[in-house]
């Protein structure tokens, strides 16, 4: 393989870890929201943490190998879709971080409730169903989807 294909392979691998890890975190979060007991919710939200190393490697890898590919593939400094992708990458990470804080808040409350009798609780349900908190995570997902669309469409 030549340098270009090596870089492309590493960039796409990082993208799989970034998007796949985010999907895994989203699936575990969705299952936690639907769990009946706080102990289940807490356990599933705790599992989301296991996806974080993959997501972090993916985030770093897409950035580093993406910039390297930009240079290697001789795209100009003013290539709009690459700049838009970079902005969306930053937005997705910022929103993902905020969504993660919301999940952590829910996990801590679920763990507390699990230790105090493990019965369904309105406050936990309200936090899990919070539109603002969930909207941030969905927005992060949409930004990631838009990056994928830009990478393939190259408008």
């Amino acid at each position: 393989m030549d340098t270009y294909h090596w870089l492309l392979t590493l960039h796409v691998t990082a993208a799989f870890l970034f998007v796949g890890g985010s999907v895994a975190a989203g699936v575990l979060n969705a299952l936690a929201v639907r769990a009946e007991r706080p102990s289940e919710t807490a356990a599933l939200l705790k599992l989301v943490r296991k996806t974080l190393p993959l997501i972090f490697i993916g985030v770093g890898g897409t950035f580093v190998f993406g910039l390297w590919l930009w240079h290697q593939a001789h795209y100009g400094i003013g290539t709009a879709w690459l700049w838009i992708s970079l902005v969306l990458w930053a937005v997705a990470n910022a929103l993902g971080g905020i969504g993660g804080q919301h999940q952590e808040h829910a996990r801590k409350l679920a763990e507390k409730l699990a230790a105090e009798g493990d019965t369904p609780n309105d406050e936990l349900n309200r936090i899990l169903a919070d539109r603002k908190g969930n909207a941030v995570s969905w927005a992060a997902g949409l930004a990631t989807l838009a990056i994928l669309a830009l990478m393939i469409g190259k408008p």
Partner: protein
Amino acid sequence: MIAYTGPFWPLFLHVLGAMVLFGAVLAALIAIAAGHRAAGFKALLIAVPAWVLMRGGAEWTYSHGYSAVKDQTWLKLGMNVADGGLIVLLLALGAAYWSQRTSNPRASRTAAALCAVYLALLAVAWLAMTGKWG
């Protein structure tokens, strides 16, 4: 992906399906390995429509001029993983269902092992298809 010059939607749906498939199977592996059998089974259920999206997108992409390179290793490997991998995915789904119904540790281990094998197969496929092996 940067080198791809065909129509947008086929490849977009193929790659999106593959990434969601990878994520759903990863979530299933994490859940089953941690003893959450029902969550693992539900995560694998999400992997099935993702496989359909990935495979449908692959066929649609293939119909846009890829028949000329059908003997290339990367394309054959990708197709074999897509089609053969479905058997592994369905076996994992069956083992996960068995696991959540019976709480049998052997069923859980089988489901987790099949998920791990499938993730490895998917990784080989994306490496081959991106690096254009052969």
